[in-house]
């Protein structure tokens, strides 16, 4: 699986593109894509591989953004510690929310995640330490490990790329681990997994905590990039956005969420000039995509590659 030379080549090509990208595209936009790609991949670990639909993932993303902003700006912590603290708090929050929701089934589980997220939203809205409507800003960009100066967007881009690769690498490994095998089994047939001796709730809870923690790393990094943590980050709209990214990219495919995030962030950027109409246009595009591409962009790509190889074979 790893020794597949074609996969290694594709991986190297993608890496080369990622390294060269800031020469062609505005680095802040690229960093935003990377943050959301990590967020959507963490979300997909739960939806696509454990079959758990959370409608409250903004609480992990947003809480971590506030934690990193607070620790770096107010407490004066180093940037890397602030980001890790954000991830850690999100993971703890994931442990609590996960423990309360995974025993429920289907829509009830989803409603609990939404209820928690709404509760946290109101806490953050009224708490004094979040800066209310203005958010926490500006978060200083303190040098990473005291050495790497990240005040320059291009330098920060490479730091964010490293964070993304580490987070995405962990998700990839989780999916391709003995634990990931059991997770897929639970997604496919839960009663059978139980009857084979797997304590399903524990596997789901671990997946929930991993997903929450990694969503937190994404949110904390976002606060460093934009030097801002705000209510937008914990708003339910953010939970909806990550669902859409995963849906558009392809649920349960490893690279789907990356494409979905790039597509949606890119689209929002392109449509920014339309003002209020963005939402309408965006809505129409989603509807079309979800209706036409049931397996997302990733599904379309695999259909195309199958079609091309069939065409080649028939020659």
């Amino acid at each position: 699986m790893f020794a597949n030379p074609r996969k290694i080549l594709i991986g190297l090509a993608l890496l080369a593109i990622a390294l060269a990208a800031p020469a062609f595209v505005y680095p802040v936009l690229l960093m935003k894509v990377l943050c959301f790609a990590l967020f959507a991949s963490a979300f997909n670990l739960l939806l696509g591989f454990a079959g758990i639909l959370s409608f409250g993932h903004a609480m992990f993303f947003g809480s971590a953004a506030y934690v990193s902003a607070q620790t770096i700006k107010v407490l004066g912590w180093p940037t890397e510690l602030g980001i890790l603290a954000g991830g850690a708090i999100a993971a703890v929050l994931g442990l609590v929310v996960g423990a309360l929701c995974i025993r429920r089934k289907g829509i009830y589980m989803t409603m609990i995640t939404l209820a928690f997220a709404q509760m946290l939203f109101f806490v953050f809205m009224s708490a004094p330490f979040t800066g209310g409507e203005n958010g926490l800003q500006p978060v200083p960009r303190r040098a990473i490990l005291g050495m790497i100066d990240i005040s320059n967007d291009r330098v920060l881009y490479y730091v964010v790329l490293a964070i993304f690769l580490a987070g995405f690498g962990l998700i990839y490994r989780v999916i391709h681990s003995p634990f990931g095998q059991v997770l897929k089994a639970i997604r496919d047939n839960e009663p059978r997994a139980i009857s084979l001796g797997y304590d399903v709730d524990r596997f789901k809870l671990i997946a929930f905590v991993l997903s929450a923690g990694l969503s937190g790393i994404a949110g904390a990094t976002k606060a460093v990039i934009f030097q801002l943590a705000s209510l937008t980050d914990v708003h339910w709209g953010m939970s909806g956005e990550v669902i859409l990214m995963t849906l558009v990219g392809g649920i349960g495919s490893i690279f789907g969420p990356l494409l979905g995030a790039a597509f949606i962030v890119g689209m929002q950027n392109q449509l920014a000039g339309l003002g209020e109409w963005v939402l309408v246009v965006q809505g129409l595009i989603f509807m079309t995509l979800v209706m036409v591409l049931r397996a997302g962009i990733m599904g379309l790509m695999s259909d195309l590659s199958r079609w091309v190889s069939k065409l080649r074979a028939s020659r």
Partner: protein, 252 residues
């Protein structure tokens, strides 16, 4: 030794709201026996099954396995005790390959299943064993295929391979022949006969030819109660049993 019972229920009762699906059932399954549980549709066979496999919690009564009360043990703990169940509809993991399906049973025994940081290639050492289990049920050399695309009969065979990978002492099968054609029934019955050597099987089954061929003891359940028990010859000539099946459109 062979008369000793491995599984026993005492006064097992399950009520759903006001409806009692299982009433005061006493049942003994002999060690190394092949025991059938039969009865008309809605008799409570699956409910009884779900009670002893801990997918349902009894309203009253106890379940003894090797003399130990398991009526409050978690379902996921039973395989560790040597008990493995199947389901009325075939239970495979459709998006995993045949090899991965069987490996999931072998993996459990290795105690590595929580290792989310470890590469799954570490499981490859189980491949040979998994392949030979697949070959035993006639699915040799097909390990790389996704389980979801198999025809129903082969899914049943795969499920059996997965179950046997555990080497359970007690196998509980809920209608293993349901939905199978004549050819597949013969094939699965052969496999079950082979699997029954040296272990105990309790099986719910509607197909009387299969029951007559495989089982040495039969319990008839009707409206949640034990109606009769004995060998195939005894049970099939019991007038109460005949009556419970006749007068129903679904007589087996």
């Amino acid at each position: 030794m062979s008369d000793e019972s491995i599984l026993e229920t005492r006064g097992l009762t399950k009520a759903f709201g006001g409806f009692t699906a299982i009433k005061d059932v006493d049942l003994k399954v002999r060690r190394h026996g092949f025991h059938a549980l039969i009865g008309p549709n809605g008799a409570g066979k699956s409910t009884f099954f779900n009670l002893i496999t801990r997918f349902l919690t009894p309203t009253e009564g106890t379940i003894l396995y090797k003399g130990q009360d398991i009526s409050r043990v978690k379902a996921a703990r039973l395989p560790d005790l040597g008990i493995l169940r199947s389901f009325q509809i075939s239970a495979v993991f459709p998006r995993l390959t045949l090899l991965e399906n069987v490996r999931l049973a072998l993996q459990h025994g290795k105690g590595v299943s929580y290792r989310f940081w470890q590469n799954e290639t570490s499981l490859n050492e189980l491949n040979d064993r998994a392949e030979s289990l697949l070959a035993d049920v006639g699915l040799g050399g097909r390990g790389a295929e996704p389980a979801g695309t198999l025809p129903y009969g082969s899914k049943r065979a795969l499920e059996l391979a997965t179950t046997l990978a555990f080497e359970p002492e007690l196998m509980l099968l809920d209608e293993p022949m349901a939905g199978l054609g004549t050819e597949d029934i013969g094939r699965i019955a052969d496999l079950l006969e082979k699997a029954s050597h040296g272990r105990t099987i309790l099986m719910v089954e509607h197909n009387m030819h299969v029951v007559a061929r495989l089982c040495d003891r039969i319990t008839v359940l009707a409206r949640g109660e034990v109606l009769a028990e004995g060998t195939y010859a005894e049970v099939s000539s019991d007038p109460r049993v005949i009556e419970s099946y006749v007068g129903r459109s679904d007589a087996a």
